[in-house]
Amino acid sequence: MKLRFKLTYIGVALLTLSSLSSCNHDDWFDRDSKSLITDAQLWNDPKLLTSLVANYYDRMPTLHGVFNTGGMTELDDAMWSGHRDQNWRNDYQFGDDYGRYWDYGLIRDLNLSLENIDQFSTQLSDAQRKQYKAELRFIRAFVYFELVKRMGGVPIVTTQLIYDFSGDPTPLQVARAKEYEVYDFIYKELEEIKEDLAVYNASKTRANKYTALALESRAMLYAASIAKYNNLMASPITTAGGEVGIPANMATGYYTKSLAASKEIMNGPYALYNENADKGANFYDMLNKKTGAEVIFAKDFVTSLKVHRFAYDNIVRSLTEDNESSSTISPSLSLVESFDYLDGSKGTLHDKNGAGNYVAYQNINDIFANKDARLFGTVIYPGTSFRGRAVSIQAGVATWGANGAYQFTAAPQLGQNYASGGLWTGFDGPLYDAQDVSNTGFYIRKFVSDAPAASTRGTSAANWWPWFRLGEIYLNASEAAFELGQTVDARTYVNKLRERAGFPANSISNLTMDIIRNERRVELAFEDHRYYDLKRWRIAHLVWDGSENDPNAVVYGLYAYRVVRPGHADDGKYIYERVRPARFRKARFFRMANYYASISQDVINKNPKIVRNPFH
């Protein structure tokens, strides 16, 4: 009885179940997955494709760029004044692997996307397919440019490498291309896709025709200068197979290509940013505001969606809105002095006269008077303001000692007043050996957002990062024209750029390569150019020679002191002292081996065809 009862139950249950499943068969078993996107869906849906491309844009490589506070403090333009746990940036030398980059994961992702668009995107129009493929190829060319800049000739892989399980991996092992072959590859790709990218010409955050040209302009200039300057070295850096080193006779061709690309951009819809009558503020606004027609291609940020903490890292100490950090990047005296005076004289600050005595200035910022306006736009120096509030930068007071010389004293606490009245040490330092306050007497203004709450971690900053802007194109054009012997054109370009910085028209009459190099340093400071510029001119080992006595290799500061000397004419005026901050420990030292970063042994183990870079 009991058993039969049980059996009945089971029978009924089974019947019910089977009827259920057969009824709703289609709905129940053939639903689209809610957690998986199929190839057919992805490669046919413009919305999904756009977000995929956005991911690749976000992964575009950079060394010291995209608000990399730490990276910006590793050269001669600045030192690290932030938390002590990263003081190694003031106490290191470029390792063999400095700048090593080998992201074939990203290359594979891009190749995979290109092949899948061909294979799966049946529902897209030809125009749409072209558009997406051109964007992907632009990013791939950009990645190859980053690879060749840092590593020299690298394997050019343009398809997915798929293992066939035959037990023989050699088909996957691609040898390094010659250095010039990679540059040629980049040029060819960009030439092929630039017209397809024209649909995005109104956008500044997606690659358009002019972005492709801007990359051409930069990459060809790099190739040309390596071809020229590497072969001018006493012993050029080369490998037997040409993986490193470009033949000298290719320089003219590359300079010509670079100049042609630059000219096309300058004839395009861009203009040097000139919207603020105050030239210094104008230079700052150019990168901080997202208006104007200067920026060609940028990585954008949006409050509450995608933000960065560059302002949190680098806000002036007394203007901090958060409870930790500030003042991390302390620009160097050598950067400040590389900004010329508006009358055309060299930018060396007149802190002492010919006899070696201090020159006293009425106001604390008088020593910086009549400087290139870009100094104001790049660096916060004593006597200026930020976000509408005056900064308080003063190292201490100078009293006249019994020994007939000035004695410098700093207050035990920032912002204290001196015994006889007046400010002793400013709220913003500088301090010789402290964290989260400037160690050099300067703060960075460029890229530090002045938006409300931008320096808090809760809100953070949303100013954008310019990958390419017209200012650089003018300098590229000027350099290429100069190298090609078109001196008049070269001078016109650089003078036009200097006019925007407050110089009178035709401020340079006798252009030299040194002037162009200095212009690049001041115009493009902190924009991830200097390391590569010095490398391609083959002067990095001379500028950063590791010598502790060299003001270019060592980061110095300039400390302003108020003179307390009652009865003397200089009482209440300001004098300036050059100092080497205690936290800066080791001069920048770039060795021959750093011109090309070493390739990881792991890569060589996997692919024996890879040739080592010189000196590694």
């Binding site: 030398q93 070295m233 006493a234 012993s235 080992h541 020679d545 590791g546 010598s547 502790e548 006595n549 001069a587 030292f589 060795r591 021959m592 081996a593 042994q601 792991d602 183990n605 080592r612 010189p614 000196f615 590694h616």
Partner: protein
Amino acid sequence: MKIKFLSLLVAFASLLVVGCEYDNFEAPKSTLSGRVVYEGKAIGVRNNGPQLELWQDGYPLRSAIPVYFDQDGSFSVSLFDGEYKLVRKGDSPWLQQATDTVLVQVKGNTTIDVPVTPYFTVTNESFQKNNNSISANFTVNRIVGTANLEFVRLYLGKSVLTDQVQRELRVDANLANVAFGQPTRIVGELPDNLKNLDYVFARIGVKATVSGEYYYTAVQKIALK
């Protein structure tokens, strides 16, 4: 019951001890030490400068063991016993011989002299103090026939670590006056920060154009008082 529990505890605890030992590798006990030499004489280098590399075959993956120098050209490395290949790298004051490796058998404490071919050497160096200057007399020799001279320099410093990077005074020789195999002289005026010291350290450095590194003489201490 209690005894059983205790013995179990002991048994498990002893298992843990065994496990620990099993996981750990023994530290290398042998030392390979030596010098870089040319014609039996050690070559001076920059502190924290050139390096050698050691490689070992017989494993699926290879990775270099860096060998660092003292500034007198000596080195020592802790290693396991075995056969190693020693590589003389580029960007050193001597010829790069990346494929011409030196086979080294390490067994216990091993000493070797690594022969290298410097581009230039400096011999017969002597330093004199006259009033407020230091004069150095020496001979520059070209060893590699194709090498070109870039700098011949006198360095003075406060510490025994004196070289191109760490120094108080650097005086360049006029290369037009440097004849190979002939005596050369550099005179350095003592700067204010060295004048009143009890002693300074002096050194000659020579650089070939092909390399970023200098060949240095041994550091010499010169009494000023």
